[in-house]
Amino acid sequence: MTPPAGSLLSAEQLRKAYGPTAALDGAEFSIHPGEVVAVMGPSGSGKSTLLHCLAGIVTPDSGTITYNGHELSAMSDSQRSALRRSDFGFVFQFGQLVPELTCVENVALPLRLNGGSRKEAERAALTWMERLEVDDLRKKRPSEVSGGQGQRVAVARSLVTNPRVLFADEPTGALDSLNGERVMELLTDAARSTNAAVVLVTHEARVAAYSDREVVVRDGKSRDMERAV
């Protein structure tokens, strides 16, 4: 099987088992630049594992993942780490901000991990914080901001490196509807404006409604609803 034409990131026949339980059992995936794809499915279905595989955090037991023409599973751990630093961005449900660092330092962290100078990194961070309307929190620590604000800081951090793929794992899971929708609006707007692809793992339909299409994962198998119909 060849990846669908024009896809930025695609996966074929992914299999991954944790012990005796198969988290992924032949899952497929593909995303184009600028596309927002929701990964849906009941909990325990393997949707987070799919995201981890796609992002190169976890190596699948078998199957291929192609990013921008490169075979991800052929890369070394440090190469994949470097790729994650430069090309990917991440937003998780919670607990991702370093509690000791101020918000602006948190946002600047990926740039600094890439070897950027502190000053430049924090300037770029501030720009993104402005776009996500949290620039007034720059001196605050994560424990001093609300959940919605913290999540926006996290989104700003995920976008600060201008990633080509943004991975969001239940980004609104810990937020109320209003905050959740605001975060989703800002996230998808920002991603669209930079033509970044967004892999959005969620179980909420209203969050998934911000996507262009959805992929359903059930029992480790994926189902691309657009292509199926």
């Binding site: 955090i57 976890v58 330092e105 600094r112």
Partner: protein
């Protein structure tokens, strides 16, 4: 508030301490082991004074030769005892030759029956040594049949080497061997002199105790806080189901109580095991029997009450700034900036307490035990008080650096108190150890320098019993393996009158080769007599004008009270030659003075009044050369005395102290390192989610590992710096107190800080595998 409610709350806490699955058990056992080690050390400390007392009592009970100077008449209840101590390799062997003079002769403690001639009873340690291959050389020296062992009541330590051998015909030698031989009708010192203990030694012991116990106390305080975060969460959950804040505090107290009581049990077991082990060990040439190590009941009770009480207090103190809400734990407010003044007050007060005693050791004055303990404790507590302030002050000024550095510094800024608390134990232990080592090094070099023997020409000295023929004995020594040269002399004393001499001087008889070793002779032939003029030490030859040819002198002049004996006169010959002094065979300071005589010039009458002595040059590369010599000497006669001289008599002993201190400090530091590791791991587990997230967006493992290293290393470096300063100060003050010149033992400082640094490294290394495991993406799957 009724008692039943209280008891129920405490019991609930006790239950919580041991439930919670494998993790709960691990935590409980860790706490118990930590507290247990501390308790064991405490119990040992309470037992030490009694152990030393018992040793002292046993020593007094078996004392025989009391230097009383009186000779009691022979009776059916008397016993003649001769001191026949010897050395084997580096160990002292206590030896006594016994000759009972009647059926009611006193038996020495621990001995059931007098050994007959050719028999001996020995201590278990000596028996084992004699029966082993290693003791073969000693067996040659002590060939008597072993007919029994000395019981515990006759020994001062399990590893003591001692023997009693049967002898005959000792009585006739009592007169001439006063101080080595005595007729007694009882063992035990009739007038025990309560020996005033050396104030410096007392100081050392006090400081050792304080320095060892302080970190243990801190360690216990840390140990009861293992799993603190988890406990807080559990307490919050309890609040949620309706317990009020007082109840949660009682439950927490119950948990601490459970851990510390289990710790007491562990500690007692450790102590009992250690006590048995102590029976087989020998530290600083001191060994004890397990039965000596009985903690005084009062002190043991104090430990049993104080440790749980302290554990509860520490827990409540730790909860002081914490508000346990049903939905979680809130640390009360932003921490106030730490104030410096009262923290500085502690060490300053400590110094103030020690200051008045400066120089007391030199004047042989006493040290006030309370002031010493108080001063040392205050200085060391000052470390724990100052460290949080220093860590806070330094960390808040630490500038930017790499990501790893930034992560570590920010974390420290947020919780500098926790960081400081973690290294407090290490800092106190290192400060104490540095001070102690300085004190040991200083005091010890004092003792070492005083020997000042010149051992280039001779290293051993053999004093022969009077009846032994000098020539033949010297030949035997010459034939001994490893002996390179023997200079043998007969020594006596010449007085200007036969009784109550006014002037007197030394007489030394030896061949030309031997005499040349002790004086500069112009020429020498057998038959010559020399007078040594201008000797540094004893100038009576010149002052008393004794070297006047024709003057009549008397060998071994009698004094009032000494037994009668015939006069042995000698006339200073006309052809007396003159000799110049030369530094003594063993001692630079000592010049041989008086008359030197070659064998042919010696009158026959002199033979019995002279003491034979041989100086030996030995080849140290020959294995056990000293013991070969001792064997030969023992073959010459029972009362032959052998001494080995060395330049630095106590060097090796200091090494032992140093090693002991090093090992002790290393153990304490390892203990603290273990607690560091536990809290480090706990902290890492808490951050599992964050770590996984950081890895997800591409953080290098190296970066996170480095940040963990910095996070441990920064407070420890600060702690070690402070510890060095306080340790050196304390050491200097203690040295000044003993009146010893202050010298810094840099090797000691370096090795102690080195161990401290090694602990950091090991803790970091040990936390790396779990860190790497936590950094796996599985951490993201927990929600």
């Amino acid at each position: 508030m009724n008692v039943r409610q209280w008891a129920a709350d405490l019991m609930l806490g006790v239950r919580f301490a041991f439930t919670g699955g494998r993790e709960g058990w691990t935590r409980a056992v860790l706490t118990a082991v930590g507290v247990g080690l501390g308790v064991a050390l405490l119990l040992l400390t309470t037992a030490l004074p009694s152990a030393l007392t018992v040793r002292h009592e046993r020593e007094a009970a078996r004392s025989d030769i009391t230097f009383s100077g009186e000779v009691i008449p022979k009776a059916d209840n008397t016993l003649v005892v001769a001191r026949v101590d010897t050395d084997f390799r580096e160990d002292d062997v206590r030896g006594r030759a016994l000759e009972p003079e009647g059926p009611r002769a006193p038996l020495p403690p621990g001995v059931e029956k007098f050994p007959g001639t050719g028999e001996m009873v020995v201590s278990p340690a000596l028996k084992e040594l004699l029966e082993s291959d290693a003791g073969a050389l000693l067996r040659e020296r002590l060939p008597d049949r072993i007919v029994g062992t000395i019981g515990e009541s006759g020994l001062i330590g399990s590893a003591e080497l001692a023997f009693y051998q049967g002898a005959e015909g000792l009585a006739s030698h009592i007169e001439t061997n006063q101080g080595r031989m005595e007729r007694i009708d009882r063992f035990g010192d009739p007038e025990p002199v309560s020996e005033r203990s050396d104030p410096v030694l007392l100081l050392l012991i006090l400081v050792v105790f304080v320095v060892l116990l302080m970190p243990v106390a801190i360690f216990i305080a840390t140990a009861v806080r293992f799993g603190g975060e988890q406990r807080d969460r559990r307490l919050a959950a309890l609040r949620l189901v309706g317990s009020d804040s007082r109840m949660t505090r009682r439950i927490a107290a119950g948990e601490a109580l459970a851990g510390s009581v289990l710790g007491l049990v562990f500690g007692t077991l450790f102590f009992l095991a250690g006590r048995q082990l102590a029976g087989t060990a020998e530290i600083f040439r001191v060994s004890v029997f397990p039965s000596y190590l009985n903690p005084s009941p009062l002190l043991a009770l104090l430990v049993a009450v104080a440790v749980p009480a302290a554990a509860v207090l520490v827990t409540l103190f730790a909860l002081r700034g914490v508000v346990i809400e049903p939905l979680g734990v809130v640390r009360s407010g932003r921490q106030r900036r730490r104030r410096l003044w009262w923290r500085l007050l502690l060490p300053v007060a400590g110094l103030a307490m020690l200051y008045p005693m400066i120089g007391n050791g030199r004047d042989n004055g006493d040290f006030n035990q309370y002031l010493v303990t108080g001063g040392v404790v205050l200085l060391l507590v000052g470390v724990t008080a100052l460290l949080p302030w220093i860590v806070e002050a330094v960390v808040s000024r630490l500038g930017s650096g790499g990501v790893a550095w930034q992560l570590a510094v920010r974390r420290l800024q947020l919780s500098s108190g926790t960081a400081a608390r973690m290294v407090n134990g290490i800092a106190v232990a290192v400060a104490g150890a540095i001070a102690l080592q300085m004190l040991f090094a200083g005091v010890d070099s004092d003792y070492t320098r005083s020997t000042g023997k010149d051992v280039s020409r001779a290293q051993m000295e053999v004093t022969l019993p009077e009846e032994a023929p000098l020539e033949a004995s010297a030949q035997k020594l010459r034939d001994t393996k490893g002996v390179q040269a023997v200079y043998d002399f007969s020594e006596g004393y010449l007085g200007d009158r036969a009784t109550d001499a006014e002037w007197g001087t030394d007489l030394t008889v030896g061949d030309c080769a031997a005499l040349r070793q002790i004086a500069n002779l112009p020429s020498c032939r057998d038959g010559d007599v020399f007078a040594v003029h201008g000797a540094k030490w004893d100038t009576s030859l010149d002052d008393g004008n004794l070297a006047e040819p024709g003057r009549k002198l008397y060998l071994d002049p009698a004094y009032e009270g000494s037994p009668e004996k015939p006069d042995t006169p000698w006339t200073v010959p006309q052809d007396l030659k003159s000799a110049k002094p030369r530094s003594g065979l063993l001692d630079d300071e000592f010049d041989q003075s008086g008359f030197l005589m070659t064998p042919k010039a010696m009158p026959d009458t002199f033979a019995s009044g002279l003491q034979g002595r041989a100086y030996l040059k030995i080849d140290r590369s020959v294995a056990d050369v000293q013991d070969h010599v001792r064997n030969t000497a023992a073959g010459i006669g029972l009362l032959t005395d052998t001494v080995t001289w060395s330049e630095m008599e106590r060097t090796d002993r200091y090494d032992v102290v140093r090693t002991g201190l090093f090992v002790g400090a290393a153990c304490v530091l390892a203990l603290i390192g273990a607690s560091l590791l536990v809290s480090q791991l706990e902290q890492l587990r808490e951050r599992r989610k964050l770590l996984s997230a950081l890895v997800a967006f591409g953080t290098r493992r190296r970066t996170l590992s480095l940040s963990v290293l910095w996070q441990t290393a920064i407070p420890i470096v600060l702690g070690l710096l402070l510890a060095s300063v306080v340790g050196l100060t304390l050491g200097a003050v203690l040295l000044k107190m003993t009146g010893t010149p202050v010298g810094v033992d840099w090797a000691g400082v370096l090795s102690m800080t080195g161990i401290g640094a090694a602990v950091v490294l090991v803790v970091t290394l040990c936390s790396l595998p779990p860190l790497l495991r936590l950094m796996r993406p599985e951490g993201l799957r927990t929600e």
